[in-house]
Amino acid sequence: MPEVLKAPLVVEFPFTRSLGPVQSAFLTGLRERVVLAVRTSDGRTLVPPVEYDPVTAEEIRDLVEVAPTGTVTTWAWNHAPRRDQPLGTPFAWVLVRLDGADTALLHALDAPGPDAVHTGMRVRVRWAEERTGAITDIACFERYEGSPDGGDPAEPTGHTGEFDDPVTGIVARARLEYTYSPGRAQTAYINALADRRNVGERCPSCRKVYVPPRGACPTCGVATSEQVEVGPRGTVTTFCIVNIKAAHTANLDIEVPYVYAHIALDGADLALHARIGGIPYDQVRMGLRVEPVWTEGARYPDHYRPTGEPDADYDTYKELV
């Protein structure tokens, strides 16, 4: 069996987030080097703050400032930091209960090694140089044994959470990396396309021919393996005329209007989708007979064009619409 195709697939997108009143105050506070908590009706102080009480479900808006110093409640050493993690060198993930809070905040602790970290150790916030109103405004935590002159510079100032120019939204990038494989059946299909042949697979049970093949019949639920060459000619079963450019970058080189058609290749039992060219867009019709147009080195036909044959009779393809 030929080797199954594989390729990296990276998907990444910047999502916007509206913060709502509580997260807005929390992140704006970080920008101003103030850590804000919420106070629940039963007197607990929660950091990071939440909009709704985890016990009573009541809305909570009572913001209070807590200290930028605290105590590690538990930790785990990260030997090999990954992309976009808070520190580029090995560090500890820590839960820190800030002084004045009843809950702990997850963040990174800068430490020379795991031997330098222990539950109960005192730490303080190391603020980022440039702060924008994001959790990364806390660059990380660092060991803290109190100020040498005896005074504590970390005393909270009693901030109420009212700010000029509050941050109301953030952008959160999501990124996923996969190794994608189309599998055995599609690999065979793609390899055949390199020779400009359309090779599908026939279901051993219902005898329907699938192009592209998926390796199994979605109706009968059985594996398919019998290869069947179809086309290259086919019939336009239905279509639309696309008049707007898709926002998707992969489509930006296609000029509008263009015809997006369903084409039943001769011998196939369901239509595939392709663009129609070589004919004015407003003359494309159901039943039009078409053939593929290849460009050098392309993996797929660039588009399909009329063959010049008479149109197919509706009854010959209506089951495929």
Partner: protein, 388 residues
């Protein structure tokens, strides 16, 4: 042992808009849930379980958002579960919640669905650039427009039918304070003059992108007896699915949709839906789906659905009003859209639909579909409880 009858005693939704930048996702769902509880005159402690639905996680890029929404929905210490069936999810979510009551697992269930499309990217979330595949993506409109053309060919419907639906739905929306689009100056001529996006689908025949949430409180007979306002009773509910693509798939009238409707009618004792059902709130994201679904749901013979639209039967004052709320065509927070259909059906039979209330709403169908016309969920609700 027979099933416990299920009643809708609370309905709440947000005012659907293009962007709710003033609230987090938690704040958005909270608003709808609070309104549903207020309608039911219940508090958080009266709810036994929470069932939530939304479109795929990648739309907003928050993986499993239900985890962090537990506090906003008063679900701490209670069962909370998430339902996921693409665009039909709002309907399936309501049905999962209803089944928990029908099975007597819980007495009172809060069910909710949402979408914040302003913070999401449905196009990107659904259309990842897959290696080795030809990039041919033309958006949801490009996916559905060829099927609309196939319907037009098959039925011989005049080109104008789609615009009639859009004109009707957008006018209905003017009577619904929660609808997203309120086009006060809408005319049929404006709909017909709007640009062709994916010929044969025009701009004005296409749903908007909305931020919104919808919630319902479902309860048993005991809960219904205590209800502050008339309940809506579930008379039948079903879900069906089929593959996106297979040899013999009928995109114009999918088999799964027919089977789903038949199951609902069997449960509810509906012999002739056109005669026995008073109104339909259906998931029609493009105007032409009204006549297509009228046929798929058995309200008209194959190829005849457009005649109901053209003759005014589906108007708000017609014999079979369709999409009294203004429909998906006027409001589309995708994950919530199915539940809004179900909720509208309930509002109508409860007599709580306000300015878009129809007369004689005794039995109303709520309908949702999703994916590549592959997931269907429907319920029929009535003003009277089901026969024992």
């Amino acid at each position: 042992m027979s099933k416990e009858p299920v009643a809708v005693v609370g309905v709440g939704q947000t005012k659907h808009v293009a962007a709710r930048r003033d609230v987090s996702i938690a704040g958005l769902v909270r608003e709808a849930a609070r309104r549903a509880l207020d309608d039911a005159e219940l508090g958080w402690a009266d709810v036994d379980a929470v069932v939530i639905g939304k479109a795929p996680d990648f739309f907003e890029g928050v993986m499993m958002p239900e985890l962090y929404l537990a506090d906003a929905l008063g679900a701490v210490g209670k069962p909370m579960l998430r339902v996921h069936t693409a665009g039909s999810v709002g309907g399936s979510t309501a049905l999962v919640a209803a089944n928990l009551v029908a099975a007597r697992v819980h007495g009172t269930v809060l069910t909710l669905a949402f979408e914040k499309q302003s913070e999401s990217n449905a196009m990107w979330g659904l259309s990842l650039p897959i290696p080795f595949q030809q990039p041919l993506l033309a958006g949801a409109g490009g996916f559905f427009a060829p099927h609309v053309r196939a319907y037009m060919r098959r039925s011989g419907a005049p080109d104008t039918v789609g615009s009639l639906v859009a004109y009707k739905d957008r006018r209905n929306a003017l009577k619904n304070p929660y609808a997203h689009l309120h086009e006060h100056d809408i005319t049929l001529e404006k709909v017909q003059a709007s640009p062709m996006l994916w010929d044969p689908i025009r701009y004005s025949e296409t749903c908007p992108s909305s931020d919104g949430a919808c919630a319902m409180v479902l309860t048993d007979r005991v809960g219904a007896a205590r209800a502050a306002r008339p309940p809506a009773w579930m008379l039948g509910g079903a879900m069906r699915s089929e593959p996106t693509l297979f040899a013999g798939k009928d995109f114009v009238s999918p088999q799964a949709g027919k089977d789903c409707a038949a199951d609902v009618y069997r449960q509810a004792g509906i012999a002739d839906p056109r005669r026995d059902i008073d109104a339909v709130e259906m998931y029609a994201p493009f105007s032409w789906y009204e006549p297509m679904w009228l046929e798929n749901l058995g309200f008209a013979a194959e190829g005849e659905g457009w005649k109901l639209t053209e003759s005014g039967v589906t108007e708000l004052d017609g014999d079979l009003p369709v999409n009294m709320s203004g429909g998906v065509l006027s409001t589309n927070p995708i994950g919530a859209s199915g539940m809004i259909r179900f909720a509208e059906a309930a509002l109508q039979v409860r007599g709580q639909a306000g300015e878009h209330q129809i007369d004689r709403a005794r039995k109303v169908l709520g309908h949702a579909y999703g994916g590549g016309s592959q997931f269907f969920s429907m319920w029929l609700v009535g003003s009277e409880p089901p026969d024992a």
